[in-house]
Symmetry: C2
Subunit: 355 residues, 2 copies
C-alpha cells in the first residue's frame, strides 16, 4: 500500500523547497521500491487569500486521511497586520492541536565542513549533537487569553496550564529518544518561579525512575540559554515545555550554522507526524530559486524514519545530503561570498541522484 503524504507548500519559499522534498521522496520510492501517494493542500497566507482562513477544513481532512504531512513554511509581511485568527501562523498552531502533535523534535547537529558558517568557535562546536524535545500542544500557547479595558488602561492575560499527563507523555518520549542516543536528558524549567515548572519537575523525577539507564539533570531555563552557547556539546536530549522549547530550539538551531539546514518532526501518539524545516518562509528570496532545500530534505528523512519506519531510506537521504555538501555544493546562504552557489533545484537534483 502506498503511504499517503499530505503536501502543504505554504507561502514564500515553501513551494520551492517542498518540491525538492517531494523529488527526494520520489527518488527514495524508486531506489527502495516504496510507494508514496502525494496529495496537495492549501495552508497559511495563500489559504487566507483564497478561502479566507489559514487552515481550511479540507486541508485538515486531507492531513487526517494521510500517513504523514510535509509542510513548507507559512507567513509573510502581507499578513502581518491581520488579527490573530487570520494570521498564517495560526494554521501551525491549529494543525498541532487538531492533529494531537504534542512532541516536537528539533535535532541540531554540525555538518562536516560547515563549521565556518557558525558564529561559535570551531573548538566549541566539536561534538555538538543534540535534540530539543519540545512540548507542542500545551502551556501558554493554548491557555486562556483575555484583554480587558480597565479604568487605568488595558490589561492582557495569558495562562500557562499543564496537566500531569501532558508532561508525562512528552517526558517519556524524551527518555525513549535518549535511550537511542547518548542517554542523557536535560529537563529545562523555571521551578524557582513557576508552579507549572514545579509540577513539571516532579513528573520528570517520577518518570526518570523507569529509566535508570538514562542520566537526568534539571536546568533552569535562564541557565540553559547560557549553557547551550557556552558548552553545547554537553547536551544530548533537552526536554522542555512549549514556550521555553520555542526559544531554546531556535537558539540551538543557530549554533551550528545556518537554520537553513535543520529539520523538525511533530509527532503524536502513533506513527503519524508532520515534518517541516525549522526556518521560515523567507519572502525576501521567494521565487528566485536560491532557497536552501536541506532542512526540508532532512525533514523528509525524519518522515521516513518516524512515520514509515524506513530507517535505511532515512539514512540514505541523510547520507546523500552529506555527500553533496562534502562535494562542496552549497546554496547561496551558505556559500562564502565569491564562491559559486547552486540553486534550489540543482541541489535537490544532486541529492535525489545520490539517493
Amino acid at each position: 500500500m502506498a503511504k499517503k503524504i499530505a503536501v502543504l507548500p505554504g507561502d514564500g519559499i515553501g513551494p520551492e523547497i517542498v518540491d525538492e522534498g517531494v523529488k527526494v521522496l520520489r527518488a527514495v520510492a524508486e531506489s527502495f521500491g516504496y510507494r508514496f501517494a502525494f496529495r496537495f493542500g492549501m495552508v497559511g497566507g495563500g489559504a487566507i487569500d483564497r478561502v479566507g482562513t489559514p487552515l481550511p477544513q479540507e486541508t485538515l481532512d486531507l492531513c487526517r486521511d494521510s500517513d504523514a504531512v510535509l509542510l513548507g513554511a507559512v507567513g509573510g509581511p502581507r499578513w502581518d497586520d491581520n488579527p490573530p485568527e487570520l494570521r498564517p501562523e495560526k494554521a501551525l498552531l491549529s494543525l498541532r492541536k487538531e492533529l494531537g502533535l504534542f512532541a516536537n523534535l528539533r535535532p541540531a547537529m554540525l555538518f562536516e565542513g560547515m563549521e565556518q558558517s557558525s558564529t561559535l568557535r570551531p573548538e566549541v562546536l566539536k561534538g555538538v549533537d543534540l535534540i530539543v524535545v519540545r512540548e507542542l500542544t500545551g502551556g501558554i500557547y493554548f491557555g486562556e487569553k483575555s484583554r480587558e479595558r480597565l479604568e487605568e488602561g488595558e490589561r492582557a492575560t495569558d495562562t500557562l496550564v499543564y496537566h500531569e499527563w501532558e508532561i508525562e507523555r512528552i517526558v517519556r518520549r524524551a527518555f525513549d529518544i535518549a535511550r537511542g542516543r547518548r542517554k542523557r536528558v536535560t529537563s529545562v524549567d523555571k521551578a524557582n518561579v513557576l508552579e507549572s515548572s514545579r509540577l513539571w519537575r516532579s513528573v520528570v523525577n517520577r518518570v526518570a525512575e523507569d529509566y535508570p539507564d538514562v542520566e537526568l539533570e534539571h536546568m533552569l531555563v535562564d541557565n540553559c540559554a547560557m549553557q547551550v552557547v557556552r558548552k553545547p556539546s554537553h547536551f544530548d536530549v533537552i526536554v522542555t515545555e512549549n514556550m521555553f522549547g520555542d526559544i531554546l530550539s531556535d537558539e540551538t538551531a543557530i549554533l551550528t550554522g545556518s537554520i537553513g539546514m535543520l529539520p523538525s518532526a511533530s509527532l503524536g501518539d502513533g506513527s503519524f507526524g508532520l515534518y517541516e524545516p525549522v526556518h521560515g518562509s523567507a519572502p525576501d528570496i521567494a521565487g528566485q530559486g536560491v532557497a536552501n532545500p536541506v532542512a526540508t530534505i532532512l525533514s523528509v528523512a525524519m518522515m521516513l524514519r518516524h512515520s514509515f519506519g524506513y530507517e535505511e531510506a532515512a539514512r540514505a537521504v541523510e547520507q546523500a545530503v552529506r555527500s553533496v555538501l562534502a562535494a562542496g555544493y552549497r546554496t547561496a546562504d551558505l556559500a562564502p561570498s565569491g564562491d559559486l552557489a547552486i540553486g534550489t533545484e540543482e541541489f535537490g537534483d544532486r541529492v535525489a541522484e545520490a539517493v
Copy 2:
C-alpha cells in the same frame, strides 16, 4: 549628607565579593570627597537559617531607609529542596516587588583583551555593546499560581498579566536609555501567540511616537534568541517582559565571556536602586578567596551613576577595572590555565588603588 547604602552580602561568594565592592566605594569616597554610610543586612539562605525567612522585615526596612542597596548573591544546594516561600531566591523577588524595582538594566559589553574567554568568534564580538532592559515586577513571575488535583492527575497554572501602565513605564525607560546610547530599541515579544505580547507591542508603538529620534524594531523572542548569537553587534537596547528578559539577559551575558564580569541595576521611579552582580552565589568556590569581584565592582559603578548621579566617579571605577584587566591581572575564572591568577582581595585592592 552621607549616602546611605544597605549592604546585603548574602550566601556563597556573596560576602567576599561585596567586601571588594565596599572597598572600592571607600576609595571613591576618599578620592572624590563623597560620604557613604554602610549598613549591613541579612538576606537569602543565611537569613533562612538564622531567622526563618529569606527576607527579614528589618532587612526590608533597612533598604527602604537607604539611598541604594548593594547585594551579593543568594542561594545554595542547602536550600534547594525548600518550599517556594523558604527559598533564598524568594528574597530577590520580594525585594523587587516591595521596593518597586520594575526596571532591570543588564549591560553586556566586551572588555578589551577578554575576547578569548568567549565561545563566539572574535570577529562576531566586535562592537558588541548592548543592554537588556527587563521588566522586573510583573508578568508570569507575579501572576496568580495554582495547583489542583483532578481525577486524571494534577494540574498547575501560572498567569501572565500585564497592565498598560506597567508596559509603558519600562518601555519609556528603555527609550530614554537608548537616547544616551546608539538610539536603537529592539522590543522583544511573542505577539504571534500571546495576548500580553500584543498589548506590549501596541504600547511600544504608541510610546515610540514620542521618540522619533530613536529607531524601533520589534522582534519575536525565538528569533531574538537566535540573533543575539548570530549578530550581537546588531543590538543596542533590548526591552522585554520579565520572563523573556530573564532568558535573554543571561544569554547575552554569556556572549562576551565570563558572567563573572557583568553588573546589573534594578531601578524604580526615583533614584533608589538595587545593584548586584549577574552571577550567582557559586557555593563551590565560596570562602576560597578566588571569586571574581568585577561584576560587583561594576555594579557599584552603576550605583554611583544611577542612584547618586556621580558620573565621574562611576567612570573612574569602570576605568580602574579596565586598567587592572589591561595590566593582565585576572581572577582564576578568567586566567588561561597555567597563568598565575590573583585572588578576590588582591583584585579589589588593585582596583581601589587605581581609583
